[in-house]
């Protein structure tokens, strides 16, 4: 009896400890979750308020009634009898933050760069893993060596060069360089080395399949998991890229979402805070929604890739 008590107590203690610890951790996690979500929530709430309401009291915790009005301003869809002031505000916002065009431009750039990055990285990785040639290891060493060079280092020269080529206000300097993505190649090479059976190449050669077709029809499908992971990262990175896009694109028609946001942030007149918040909301909404849909997959990808871009 007394023995049992003696043994029983620490066990209860142990359980109590674990529960206490778990509760503590849970509370910390809830706080962190709130820190992540509340700014987004407040942002959305603020985008449903009118400018004058926010001017009187910016401390809004619940939704207002002006979302539709703000949206109409942003779309430059005002009633005919709207004042000149309102019209100016609407004209300014709709031309600087043309939502549809921004999404489209960002989608074109992010889509193309993603396609080019994963395809050519897979191609390069395949070339390095499958073929044995004199400069193979030198090439791989080079790729690893340059992997870490930040874009800023060459940006002065890059812009001056694009300037000379008259490639300013053009998507080419933003899309074509995506062919060369050392970090992605590095990842793909590691992936292929660990999970791509080289025998299969030989087998397909025996079947008379050309080298490029072997890559397209056999290797590429087998690399799907790696491609999917890198495609997601490449897409997010390029969708979010502000630095390079901002240097190259000066034409409103070509502006991407990050450029539009920075423009709205830089407005010095005709400011409407409700619409401002709406713009920021619209700039993060698509990627956040897509993220939540694909979140499990993305998180698994981060764990797998560990490539910080």
């Amino acid at each position: 009896m007394s023995m049992k008590q003696q043994y029983g107590q620490p066990k209860d203690n142990y359980h109590a400890k674990i529960i206490a610890k778990s509760t503590g951790i849970f509370i910390v996690c809830v706080i962190l979750t709130l820190l992540c979500l509340v700014p987004i929530y407040i942002l959305i709430v603020n985008s449903t308020h009118a400018h004058l309401d926010l001017a009187q009291n910016p401390s809004r915790f619940w939704f207002g009634k002006s979302l539709a009005a703000n949206f109409k301003t942003l779309m430059n869809d005002l009633p005919a009898d709207a004042g000149k002031s309102a019209k100016r505000v609407a004209a300014q916002y709709s031309s600087a933050f043309n939502v549809g065009r921004g999404y489209l431009n960002s989608l074109i750039i992010a889509g193309c760069t993603t396609g080019l990055t994963v395809f050519f990285s897979a191609l390069t990785a395949y070339g390095l893993v499958v073929y044995d040639f004199k400069l193979n290891s030198a090439a791989y060493t080079f790729i690893i060596g340059v992997m870490m060079i930040p874009v800023q280092v060459s940006s002065a020269g890059f812009v001056a060069f694009m300037y000379n080529l008259k490639l300013i206000n053009n998507f080419i300097p933003l899309i074509v360089p995506a062919i060369a993505a050392p970090a992605v190649i590095f990842f793909m090479v590691s992936y292929m080395k660990s999970s791509f059976p080289l025998d299969i190449v030989e087998a397909s050669r025996i079947d008379g399949c050309g080298e490029f077709r072997t890559f397209l029809t056999i290797a590429l499908p087998m690399m799907k998991p790696a491609i999917a992971v890198q495609a997601i990262f490449a897409f997010v990175a390029n969708w979010n890229n502000y630095y390079t896009q901002n240097m190259i694109l000066k034409n409103e028609k070509l502006a991407t979402v990050p450029i539009m946001v920075s423009k709205v942030l830089g407005f010095d007149k005709n400011i409407d805070n409700g619409v401002n918040f709406l713009c920021v909301t619209l700039s993060i909404l698509p990627i956040v929604v897509v993220y939540f849909i694909l979140s499990k997959f993305i998180i698994a990808g981060v764990a797998l890739g560990g490539v910080k871009e």
Partner: protein, 467 residues
């Protein structure tokens, strides 16, 4: 060599682009790839077209333009493209302009715009005219790769006999070629909230108000009175930036003499404004050109703003910062001043010359259309005949100012503007740096502030030296 590189580069990129279709084959890629190619093709053809039609225009262009000289730039595009950094003025102009025009907003506040312009104007994208600001226009009109003479559009200095002469002087480059035409004479005044003035100062008319602030000493005394009466709730001026405009410009002191940075006026101003801040006459945290600027007016926390003429029209700053209740009035303030000013400049790549010439004439030469524009936009236009007529006829009444005619107040100010000797191409950057340094270090002593400013200015501009 550069030609070779360029050709090679284009070949390489085209090859890449075409291999890109094969690569992903997605709908997206294909559509961009093809648009990229077609635009490239279109660019090429338009360049060719420009070359050939330039000759045609030479032969026939002159006959149509009976009013002025010969137009030597081509007119083979049907849309006039005006590059600007703010659409406020152009929106007003396009409401009146009958031609087919659009603007390309480089979309940054005045100071930053000049950084985007250089890139944009060199990009090869369509540009016929561009709008340049007093603070940095010299960078552009003194470089022939950015700007063409107005005479290429058949417009000469003779067309500007009735203009305020300083606008012509500034629009003329180092070689004496006229390259910019301004539609406005950017005279400024002090706009105040009449309700607050009555409540705290007992002022009932603009004349009384002017009498209370017609020198800096009186302005300061009134600021103290206002602070007392309002229990410190209302400041006399919204921002330090506004005070700076009013204080500095009429002193006609250049930021730069040769390549030496001058800080005399800045020193004087710093001494004065530090006193203002210490006494609570102005709130140094209120950022000009931001929500704060607007809100202090809307919420009745400031008595007034120093405004330039382009702030006074419907939909402009006066309304944004003050509401449209019509309870504002304007006076000349402690000192005549002017603020900014915009010039229309011609791009050497202009390919809509006829319309561009029409546009410039309508807003900078023709007194009748300029009068119309002044009444529509509230902007003080760059034509003495037009402005005298409006003032004499009393045809302008601004509802935001309770029916007051701002032009009558500003007419003499505009006539007195002498800006041309004192501007430099560094002005915008130096002014921004100074005001930022001043605000950030407002609690330090004057010398420290000026040292910090000089040091920053020198770091930014290796061309310059300190006194």
């Amino acid at each position: 060599m550069s030609k070779l590189t360029r050709t090679l580069a284009l070949l390489a990129t085209l090859a890449m682009a075409s291999s890109a279709f094969v690569a992903c084959g997605g709908g997206n890629t294909e559509s961009t790839g093809s648009t990229a190619e077609t635009t490239a093709a279109a660019d090429g053809s338009s360049e060719e077209a420009a070359d050939t039609t330039a000759a045609d225009a030479d032969s026939e262009g002159g006959e149509e333009q009976s009013a002025g000289g010969e137009i030597t730039l081509p007119s083979d595009d049907d849309t006039l493209t005006v590059v600007c950094w703010t659409d406020a003025d152009l929106a007003n102009m396009f409401d009146q302009f009958s031609g087919h025009a659009k603007y390309q907003n480089c979309g940054d506040n005045g100071g930053d715009a000049s950084t985007k312009y250089a890139t944009y104007l060199n990009s090869g994208d369509d540009v016929d005219l561009f709008v340049a600001e007093a603070g940095w226009i010299l960078n552009y009109i003194n470089d022939d790769s950015f700007s063409a003479p107005l005479s290429d559009l058949g417009i000469t200095a003779d067309d500007y006999k009735d203009a305020y002469q300083y606008t012509v002087e500034i629009g003329t480059d180092n070689n004496g070629v006229l390259k910019g035409a301004s539609w406005q004479a950017a005279a400024g005044g002090y706009a105040y909230n009449a309700d607050l003035a009555e409540q705290y100062l007992g002022v009932t008319s603009p004349e009384e108000m002017q009498a209370k602030i017609d020198s800096w000493d009186k302005f300061e005394a009134t600021a103290a009175e206002l602070k007392e009466a309002s229990d410190g709730k209302v400041t006399i001026a919204a921002t330090i930036g506004g005070l700076w405009q009013a204080f500095s410009t009429a002193k006609n002191a250049a930021w730069v003499d040769g390549t030496t940075i001058k800080t005399d006026v800045a020193k004087e101003f710093t001494d004065m404004v530090k006193g203002y801040v210490d006494n609570g006459y102005v709130d140094p945290t209120v950022e000009q050109w931001s929500t704060d600027w607007t809100n202090v007016g809307l919420n009745g926390e400031t008595l007034g703003y120093f405004y330039s003429t382009w702030c006074l029209g419907e939909g402009a700053q006066l309304e944004q910062n003050g509401g449209n209740a019509g309870n504002w009035r304007i006076v000349r303030g402690p000192q005549d001043f002017f603020w900014g000013g915009s010039w229309l400049c011609v791009s050497p790549n202009c390919n809509t010359a006829d319309q561009a010439a029409d546009f410039i004439r309508q807003f900078t030469v023709n007194a009748d259309t300029m009068e119309e524009y002044a009444l529509y936009s509230g902007d003080f236009v760059n034509n003495k005949v037009a402005m005298d007529k409006i003032v004499a006829e009393g045809s302008n009444s601004n509802p935001l100012l309770g029916g007051q005619d701002q032009f009558a107040v500003l007419a003499d100010v505009a006539a007195g503007i002498k800006m041309s000797d004192s501007i430099s191409k560094y002005d915008q950057s130096l002014k921004d740096t100074f005001l930022k340094t001043l605000k950030d270090n407002i609690n330090k002593d004057t010398d420290a502030i000026l040292d910090a400013f000089t040091s920053q200015a020198l770091a930014d501009n290796p061309d310059l030296s300190a006194e």
